[in-house]
Subunit: 352 residues, 2 copies
């Protein structure tokens, strides 16, 4: 789900408050914290499990579970195509999806820097609400802390999530074998370039928007139809496709061959990468995933994925090979070959 | 478990590293992040479920579950009696215990400020390890982010946790009735005064140590023996006993009467409170809980709780009443009565 600020503001107008910025007292656990949360926030996120007045949520969930956590420290917190709120929801949903799980319940823990405007706070929580609704997950427990000015940066959000593992999921590095095909679900580097285009000191004109979205519906369709033919999934966030393919090669002790010409990159994103001198393979993504699949089923899986909105530009970008174990080798558009190494650090910090 | 730094350092010496502070690159998700985590950290926290190379942990857990989250932003991160690492483990364990659950799995998400020394990082993670082991919980998934100097404060830690609800737990505001007794498990205000004694600009000489500890073993014993006779539990962290009793009165729509003379406070803590002009009822705790229990079983529950190390000073401090609904009334040592209001904010921010 992408931020549609006008629609959201109409549906969820900010309540009238007697404060317009968040102060240290709002993180005290006292009356002010209650006021901040009860003035609409609990209403926004309302569901039967949300522990408004308990120390945790209680529920029953059958079958094997997946559990994941991520903190989001992205700067700026509002960026083209979204904000930290929906990013935090989608990001943890996607981590669960990569475990083959249907995300069910999320926690939401906020670390707010004193002075954050109530307007920004509200827009972020509204965005959490819409992202969670669109994905069919419930925010069931949370925490709010406030730190002094200069000890944080607007807002950091941690989401942890619990999901139910698909009964036909057989995912793991040990399931991958030479010959498997590598499917990429969509164009790369979009999120990273969208953030960089508005990063202080680096601004450039473009209409690229972050690709942040929830991938679990697409994943569920693949597991429903192809189950054990999907051998491993990973979403290439920090460190990009280069990082994830290197991790896969390392964990499977096999080689990875990819074809540059098959890797989808939006024209504007390619332009942004050239402007900044970046290789799109190393730039962060928030709305694509890599699936390592049984070769015999690869075309069918690809066609199925392409029917999903998040997979319209999916492509088979390469395969797993016996040769050069633990190494990722790219064949360039002009036919040359080069090793794609793990990135040492990130081109820019705080991309998610 | 309290920090025993000498013992921990002997058992878990810091590995030799080619960096002695944490830099932005360590939060990139690239090679440097791997290096930080694989240089001992994964070894320290090792267990079969820890998702070293997956996006989440997978496991099965029977029965109703509890799920809770908390971020820890305490300053200073090393304080008398502990550090932010064990606080983050014990705090989330206690939130699960208050839901009547046996804590099983934790997530650990770090937001590190660039420049944190590797020594401090290591000591904190070692402390996480020992606290988790002592409590019988596993850290199964995690995340590491690094923010620039001046955009964080040493380290913030989020832990989320999953526990299994005790089959005999019948806890909730709707279970509380007039006549129920209020048990406090130990002396109040110890954590808050320990932190304040070392807070910049406020230092005073004392040997008070934080009471941070895991309460779930004591809780489990009570639920094993008394099950439905325990009606509600809550740990009075931020906002102290005053906040929690007010929340209970509000949620149960009943009154709360407490006796000042019955409320245990260590002498040194009482002295600290007087020095700082604080009411111990409003000061944060990390190792005590309040249980609202069936009157007929109260003495027996108290005696049982006193056999647990964390409950040695437990006391019945008052009762739930029909009179003055939603209000907490304290009878002072000299016999006067006063209303104990909800705190507006906190005396000092970032106490946990």
């Amino acid at each position: 789900m992408k931020s549609d600020k006008i629609k959201m503001n109409l549906q969820c107008p900010m309540p009238k408050l007697d404060f317009d910025i968040i102060t240290l007292g709002h993180g005290s656990g006292g009356l002010l914290t209650n006021k901040l949360l009860e003035t609409g926030v609990f209403d926004l996120l309302k569901n039967d499990l949300l522990d408004e007045h308990m120390d945790g949520a209680r529920f029953s969930l059958d079958g094997p579970l997946a559990f994941s956590t991520d903190s989001y420290v992205i700067t700026p917190v509002f960026f083209p195509g979204g904000n930290i709120g929906e990013l935090a929801v989608n990001g943890t949903i996607n981590d669960l999806a990569m475990c083959g799980a249907r995300p069910r319940y999320l926690s939401l823990a906020l670390i707010i820097e004193e002075g954050l405007s109530m307007r920004a706070f509200w827009d972020i929580i509204v965005s959490v609400k819409f992202a969670a609704e669109a994905a069919g997950v419930l925010v069931v427990t949370g925490d709010t802390k406030v730190v002094e000015r200069g000890k944080g940066d607007h807002i950091f959000i941690n989401t942890s999530g619990i999901g139910q593992v698909h009964p036909d999921a057989r995912l793991g590095a040990n399931c991958v074998k030479a010959g498997d095909k590598i499917i990429l679900s969509g164009p790369v580097a979009t999120h990273g370039i969208a953030i960089m285009s508005v990063r202080e000191g680096l601004e450039f004109e473009t209409d690229i928007e972050s690709d942040t979205c929830a991938l679990h519906f697409a994943v569920e369709t693949l597991l429903d139809r192809f189950g054990p033919a999907v051998h491993l999934m990973r979403d290439p966030t920090r460190g990009g496709v280069a990082m994830v393919l290197n991790e896969i090669a390392r964990d499977c002790r096999l080689g990875v061959d990819i074809l540059e010409k098959n890797i989808p990159v939006l024209d504007a994103v390619q332009g942004g990468c050239e402007l900044l001198g970046l290789d799109p393979l190393y730039v962060a993504n928030e709305g694509v995933f890599i699936a390592i699949v049984e070769a015999a089923k690869a075309d069918e899986i690809l066609q199925t994925l392409r029917t999903d909105p998040c997979g319209a530009h999916a492509a088979i970008i390469g395969e797993v090979v016996e040769a050069h174990p633990r190494q990722v080798v790219l064949q360039s558009k002009i036919g040359g070959k080069r090793v794609v190494n793990m990135p040492l650090g990130e081109q820019l910090p705080r991309i998610c």
